[in-house]
Amino acid sequence: MRHDLAILAFACAVATGTQAQVAARDLFVRADKGQCIACHQLPEGAGAATRADIGPRLDGGRMRALGKAGLRQSIADPTVANPDTVMPPFGRHRILDAGEIERLVEFLLALP
């Protein structure tokens, strides 16, 4: 019985993790949300492929170098670091809420 519960808990954790990833990927492409895909490319195999190049390619190594706080700030209001950036202030202009920004940060940190 205890063994079955452990398996169930593990399965739920995997499913929740997968759902979060899918949701973040959804935020990444949705026109009414981040739609990051309009400006950025993902590493091959990590999601939808476009030729977008307004912003830099989102390689996992670079994302991890920016760190969680740096990424969070870059998404919430990139104009703080660079007033001339064309990237929208997703948090400041309420395009994404705090939870959605966190999901995107986790998604970016997990990129290959």
Partner: protein
Amino acid sequence: MNARLHRGTFARLLSAWVCVLGGAQALAAPEPVKKEIAARLERQYPDLKGADYALGSAAFDTELRAALEEHANAAAESIEAGRALWNAKFRDAKSLASCFPNGGRRIAQNYPQYDAGLKRVVTIAMAVNQCLKVHKQPLYDPADPATMGAIVAYVRSLALGQRIAVRVPAAAEEKFEQGRRLYFTRLGQRNFACASCHLQSAGKRYGDVALSAPIGQATHWPEIRGAKPVMLQARMRECLELMGAAPFPVGSEELNQIEFFLTYLSNGQPLKAGAWRPG
């Protein structure tokens, strides 16, 4: 609903702010503005020939450029429909053709024009409706592709290859300046200005679409998308929606002024019409 309200209010407030600034700041003379933008693009794309800008986004996209040649006659149906409307007789036996010099041949390169009497920028679509009004005819919806879009496609087809030659007399410099400010002012929930994409990121790709540059952006309209003519101001509205701003109406002062500004930047470029775009 809230997001829509927020976007609309935001855009209107910014627009009002731009208008207030319009009365308070010195005007930038049109030619230096054009030269500065041209110099910036030349630094970004030193290998791009001046005349290539007339291709719009196709200047930066070799696949689209090849497709344009394949679809060189994409506008034929719209032009034919426009020709019929242009020559249709009113009850007084006049027609749209009779309202314009030379039956409308080789006039499109001079539009938009500043009308000193009206103190307004007049686009081809407005001039068409002015003619209809004088002759007591029902006006066309300036945003309707099937009527006004077809007429504009036809009139522009009568000026193919003419060098764009929009004049900005001293009395119209404020209108030009207002168009310039609107083009460079960040609007809407996404905080984009037209210039964010079309100057700062000209030639780059938004999704898979190459971004046109301000010079040459007004040369090739209407574009033909899904067999329908899409006019420049309709395209501006699509951009405004992408920016998360409440789009100004077709024929509004704001879009007329942006069109005036943009078309002046294309002065000297060959006029094209009916450029095909993927539907």
